[in-house]
């Protein structure tokens, strides 16, 4: 199971790594965002490959005895919320783009 999660983390991390690099090269991504995503996903990959320092950090820093499982559970709920927010935003943008494109088509249509 552990090796499986490690493979997934490395695979997804590599996808994000190359995609952000490609976007950065094409000047579609700012240097700040490029560095942010690189660091974030490097942390994810390192934690997946060797989770012990992460568990140790959790144990030392937690005053309420929160385990790594609880921490990941909270993280999962937070990610679901982020996913919903992104879905709502994409829907809103899609609606706005559709209205704009339709208006332009109606303005320019030829007899």
């Amino acid at each position: 199971m552990k090796i499986f999660s490690q493979i997934i983390a490395v695979f997804l991390g590599s996808v994000v790594f190359f995609k952000t690099y490609y976007d950065f090269r094409k000047k579609r991504e700012s240097i700040a965002m490029f560095i942010f995503w690189q660091i974030l996903w490097l942390i994810v990959i390192f934690v997946a490959l060797d989770p012990m320092p992460f568990y140790e950090l959790m144990r030392k820093s937690s005053h309420y005895n929160i385990g790594a499982g609880t921490f990941l559970g909270i993280g999962f709920i937070f990610l679901l919320f982020i996913t919903y927010k992104l879905y709502a935003k994409v829907n809103e943008l899609e609606y706005e783009i559709k209205s704009m494109v339709t208006k332009l088509a109606l303005k320019d249509f030829k007899k």
């Binding site: 559709k98 494109v101 088509a105 320019d108 249509f109 030829k110």
Partner: protein, 233 residues
């Protein structure tokens, strides 16, 4: 019954430079009981010559600057058709899948007041339809029935006709292929009289390559759920 009927034929097109000219030139020039026939092509962000070809043949042409999807193209077509004061609205695909000769047969129940919406169901020459298409269409028919409670034996057919009154009652939100399912849902919601008219299944390698793939079912399912939730809020 409407006198001096005006018929608008709406053709959404996306990268159909190979077929759009033949579809437009094959449109009927005269239909008994119809005074005026005109075509409206909506180029949905094509990157080929579709727009220029359509513009030189069609009565009306509009262009989306980016590809929005079938539902959005039809919506734009309906808006233009309403502006032209059309009485009956027909939609057909631009890939040559529908035989325009059957438009007269398709609108006859509307002219006679027997229906407000007609769906061209691909029943004639059904053997030419590949098995995976039959399975896909069957699945979508069942899905449409389960979601909206209205049975249509070819819910995904792109050849349809609407009376002006029917179209005014319908509120469509779809931007993609899910429009076909949503139309059946709107027929049910507005208690419109719908009739199925048998048309031939006319498949070529070209139209098979252009049509929606069965995997689109998942996408359509999610979008239809989103549309239902939008209607309820």
């Amino acid at each position: 019954m409407v006198k001096h009927i005006k018929l608008a034929i709406i053709i959404p097109a996306y990268n159909e430079e190979k077929t759009i000219a033949s579809v437009l030139t094959c449109l009927p020039k005269k239909i008994s009981g119809v005074k005026e026939i005109f075509s409206i092509v909506i180029d949905d962000g094509s990157i080929d010559e579709t727009y220029n070809i359509a513009n030189s043949i069609s009565n009306f042409t509009a262009r989306h600057i980016i590809n929005l999807g079938l539902g959005s193209a039809l919506e734009t077509g309906f808006v233009i058709a309403k502006k032209t004061n059309a009485d009956i609205f027909v939609t057909i695909d631009a890939d040559g899948q529908h035989n325009p000769k059957y438009i007269g047969k398709l609108i006859r129940p509307i002219i006679n007041g027997e229906a407000e919406v007609t769906i061209g169901t691909r029943k004639i020459n059904k053997k030419s339809m590949p098995w995976y298409r039959k399975v896909g269409n069957g699945g979508m028919n069942l899905f449409t029935y389960l979601v909206f409670g209205k049975w249509c034996s070819d819910s995904q057919s792109g050849m349809r006709a609407f009376s002006k009154k029917a179209l005014e009652k319908m509120t469509l939100y779809s931007s993609g292929y899910e429009i076909s399912t949503e139309i059946i849902g709107e027929v049910k919601r507005n208690k419109l009289k719908m009739k199925e008219v048998a048309i031939p299944a006319q498949y070529s390698d070209y139209s098979l390559g252009k049509g929606q793939i069965n995997l689109n079912f998942i996408n359509i399912f999610i979008r239809i759920l989103s549309i239902i939730s939008r209607r309820k809020t």
